[in-house]
Chain length 763, copies 2
Amino acid sequence: MTVDIKLARAYRVIGTSPVRADGYDKVTGKAIYGSDVRISGAIWGSVLRSPHPHARIHTIDTSEAENSPGVAAVITSADLPPIGPEPIDMASAFVDPDHARQNILAGSKVLYRGHPVAAVAALNQMAAAEAVRKIKVEYEPLPAVFDVDAATAPGAPILLEDLEADHLGEPVTGTNIAWHFRYELGDPEAGFDRSSLTIEREFSSPTIHQGYVEPHNATAFWDEDDRIQIWTSTQGLFGVRKQVAGILGVNESRITVYPVEIGGGFGGKTVVYLAPLAALLSRIAGRPVRMVMDRKAIFESTGPAPGGRIAVKIGVDEGGRIQAATASIRLEAGAFPGWAAETASKSVFSCYDIPNARVDGFDILVNKPKANAYRAPGAPQVTFATESVIDEICDEMGWDRIEFRLANASGESTRRVDGPRLGKIGVRETLQAARASDHWNAALTLAESPIRRRGRGVASAFVLFSGRESTATLNLNNDGTVSLVEGSVDINGTRTAIAMQAAEVLGIPLEDVRAVVGHTGAVGSTEISHGSRTTFATGWAACEAAHQLIDEMRRRVADLWEIDVAGIVYESGMFYSGGDRDPSISFRDAAATLGRSGAPISVTASVDPPSPAQGVFSCHIADVEVDIETGKVEILRYTAVQDVGTAIHLAQVEGQIQGAVAQGIGWALNEEYFYDADGRMANHTFQDYRMPTSADLPGIEPIIVEVPNTQHPFGVRGAGEVSIAPPPAAIANAIFAATGIRLRELPMKPGRVLAALQNGVRT
Amino acid sequence: MTVDIKLARAYRVIGTSPVRADGYDKVTGKAIYGSDVRISGAIWGSVLRSPHPHARIHTIDTSEAENSPGVAAVITSADLPPIGPEPIDMASAFVDPDHARQNILAGSKVLYRGHPVAAVAALNQMAAAEAVRKIKVEYEPLPAVFDVDAATAPGAPILLEDLEADHLGEPVTGTNIAWHFRYELGDPEAGFDRSSLTIEREFSSPTIHQGYVEPHNATAFWDEDDRIQIWTSTQGLFGVRKQVAGILGVNESRITVYPVEIGGGFGGKTVVYLAPLAALLSRIAGRPVRMVMDRKAIFESTGPAPGGRIAVKIGVDEGGRIQAATASIRLEAGAFPGWAAETASKSVFSCYDIPNARVDGFDILVNKPKANAYRAPGAPQVTFATESVIDEICDEMGWDRIEFRLANASGESTRRVDGPRLGKIGVRETLQAARASDHWNAALTLAESPIRRRGRGVASAFVLFSGRESTATLNLNNDGTVSLVEGSVDINGTRTAIAMQAAEVLGIPLEDVRAVVGHTGAVGSTEISHGSRTTFATGWAACEAAHQLIDEMRRRVADLWEIDVAGIVYESGMFYSGGDRDPSISFRDAAATLGRSGAPISVTASVDPPSPAQGVFSCHIADVEVDIETGKVEILRYTAVQDVGTAIHLAQVEGQIQGAVAQGIGWALNEEYFYDADGRMANHTFQDYRMPTSADLPGIEPIIVEVPNTQHPFGVRGAGEVSIAPPPAAIANAIFAATGIRLRELPMKPGRVLAALQNGVRT
């Protein structure tokens, strides 16, 4: 369902839902994913991982492993090549390249359970496992910290003794707070003074995982000519190239990363784990090395979404206008510093036009794997906090939930707390669409059983999306089709969404645009697919290339007709000479003619758009039913209204919204890293790590609002992420509506709901 | 050894001999050739070939074969999809696309032994062979013709009954002369009248083969989504795409052809044989199909160099100036019409400035496989004729062989017999270099044995080279290296010769340019590598792309320095602001800086140069020793002087000259299709088809003359072919010098030499 806020645009290809370019191969099982890659002569690589969450490494004895049958290579951090004097641009979750190296293979300390300590390449998986068992490591266990409170308590064990942290611009050592930064706008204290109602609450969110089905994998071959070939499931071929080059201290151009299909990433496949190990093992073994993680390693060693604690304080005047807001966002960095709190800070208040605000962000080291991006990084955690407080304010003041949000909605000139003005964004339009929706206007009926209580909740969210560099090449074929070469791996049908933009500009059918992903030696540099940037930025490059192609064809047609190029019009798939539109030639006929009468027509366009300040906005409505005897929460109905800018592939955009909501519901109700009494993750299988299945989810109704992005040729916004953020708050608010209980810890699992009901935690 | 005719050019990269990009993989055995390709699930395809040189097919019964164990598909010509109404651009040896289809799978007739009649795909090679044996074909054998005389004799059996032949513009049916054309210049009869000496002779050349080591092969997968993927050893990815599309009547854009290494082509891998069969079998079998020819099939079914008879008449006035020349060039088309005589006609007289000339070319159908290109197609046959007659004239008139050629040498304004003026060409420079060479100035000593006679011969040759479409893309990497993507498969180190031209323009080391070959979906259309066009035309595209890259970098540097782009100079690897050359930035530093401060830098250039009229010229000197008791001819010393325009990769150019001479010597002395009494080829193995080995060859001394081509940015001429043409004539002339015997039939094998000596054939 599309709500036409703006006048309907008469696009030909854009806004339809064609079969995806990746669909046939994925449906028939023909698609080659990273772990399907079989390179002739490849042997198996395995990793020895730390059993301790925090320990000093005294010695590593690999001699017995090296002599184990079938072993071709054993490496530890001592085998990492020295890195050159030039700075390494890691462009990843790591702010320090040396930390990226330590994460690949631990140096003097292990910092989390699962931290790689050594790796082995052997003729087969059994031989590799046997050799891994024969590596002797002498550890000195150290006390560990697992949450932001413990990590910042006095006397807490320090993870990175050498770290010079930045605390509001001042260097600090001997701390686990790797970064404390502050954004401030106006005078928050004065704002609170003007408020008639101020509410401050603290919320917590657990460590959770992206839960992609396909495990991390890498096959690498480092040959005697020092060329490194890599096949790996990743969100970014050039990111892998850059990171492996940085970690191993080799020239980027010696590395070729080949595209394969990816079985889910959601932000978690933006950082390399196995590729540098496989490459290094391959150099020693002289053969290709293939590595695939098991699920336990994925949970224990790869970047989860950070847990943490968020305190939010909001003050409202008598007229219901928010006068001030502050937040303290303390997120788990994991073992090495990152930037999780930074993106969270840009989302926390951006739905609202708040004149006075302050956010303190903290990136806090804990003995867990280094946190990584997960769909709308940081936004679910802070949205849970802000939107729960907003709901409480509405409850206290008797405001309608949507009217209050409309009264305080961000507008074009609203400043984000970190400074930039938002510009054109569909906040009001989205809220109006929610207010007009079937769901909002349908009465919530009573449950059939008296032990089941129903309630409706609302929550909004804002998240930024990324621009950055992308390249697209178009080659015109003689039969009137066009080959599109792009550098973005197809993470979710993006080949199609990009080809659609080219087809729209070219005025030809989508099936005449054949999109392929080039390897890193065959296409221009393209940033990792993160921050919903691909349809936006790589699509933009494809638009630019398509315009170049038409221009070149106009020049050739002009030569053919021996008239000035200014007299050639291209419209609806036909080239005309101006005026009387005679002669004319179709795109297809022109391709056949021009291809035989001159140089091939081949164009390349690169773009590097800034990340728009406007971001993307959504408002969700959830109806829940709470079983007050078991604490189980069932979602009865769920509607997600989202401004997507312009929907390129309608069904894909709807699928992105539904998928994001499903993950948000998992975050709200079930998912968490559950630790046993010994501090070990107890639920490191998909059986026990309870992601929602289709049986746990209602139909999720997407309502697409199109407020075109003024900073993209087709108005695209990055639409894939924001809808993961509202579900925890929308569901918490619905639980409150059903039961009068406010839950401020995620997940809102039955035991926690039951305890709250029994303890009567009402505000 | 380089003779500097022009002032030496101070190139940095061009003219050196770096390690080839393909060298490491080929030397270590890592290179993947077409028949090394293993696609998961592939099954084996085999071909049933005709045992008759000429027969009508009454019925083909495949039922038993279809039920044979492990058989997945059986096809005959009845299974070829209908072709659409649109004309097919075959761009191959076939002038009629329907003939290309008939060559793939015979229709109502077989036209040569080895002509494919049916094909089978089965689980393995044995099962396929078994099924092939079970196909029952009812043939009606027809009389066959194997040479141009028999084919044109009255009452000869007609191969293509429906053919409408073109005889000097008139349509003719019921003939095996598929094409008779004429080129004429001036008034030959008047020229002969002015001549004081006129010599006319006829020469013959056998059918011979290119003799590439790697067999023809193809792996194809036609999937249910009608996408066709092809891996095959070929001289042109886009040629395979075009031909398979034309033969199978499918849209080009449904076909992707992937680059693999090629183990020799020499013109013989410009036409498809197995790829359409593998694709068609795959469509029926639902699995990839792999096919590899055996050597017998290669000899009997794939395009050889045409045999034929050439009559040449040359008239010279008393001053030694050639006044007139005529030629009748009758070459074997094989089973289907082609163009062999046409290229021969452009070579036959172009070494000389002849005011009056006429050439009659005949393309004559015989019951042999369709002829195909072989290095300098047609030139060895006609050069043998012309240069033997020239030698006879010199002998009669007492002229020095080189002085006579210099006195009659072509110049810039000389017209070729087919019309165009030659333009700048190094004919005189090459002859002068031959005259100045060590070899020419060294006396020929007597043989030690009285039964061995020594002689020296000279011969010159001219051949055209091709232009046509090529595309190159350059992607700038942040580390200052450049990825070069090209559409020309690397047939003989061409990746390096192309990368060298880019590196020269870019002012960076060659090792910083990484060349890869793109598949047909990933790079712009590029013509087949034939006619020595690749270093010329694809190199030109790389030059153009390199200039574009520098221009784009100049624009970005200008932005960086906030000055006008007109003020930015790029020189010797540095960008300067004009005037005081401050600031400045190196290419590498600029790449690092610009790559982080804007869109990626990626450029594509396409070119479509016409084939230059100038061609390329060589003059060879051969010393031989003839054993008059056995007739064996030994080459004592061989020098090949060639104008190469500008030598890009010096060692590769030398290697091309040496390789061409080696093949020319084989043509001169040993190679031929030898038929037994039943008309079957008796020498279809490399054991019996006597190509020269290193033991048969002298050291071959190349002398490189550089007269830069004025129609290429670096002066490149296509240097790979012409030196195959002089050896038969140079050796025949040397045999005459040694023995007084003139041989006019190739090969000059011992038996033939002995017979001539015994018969005393002196003129």
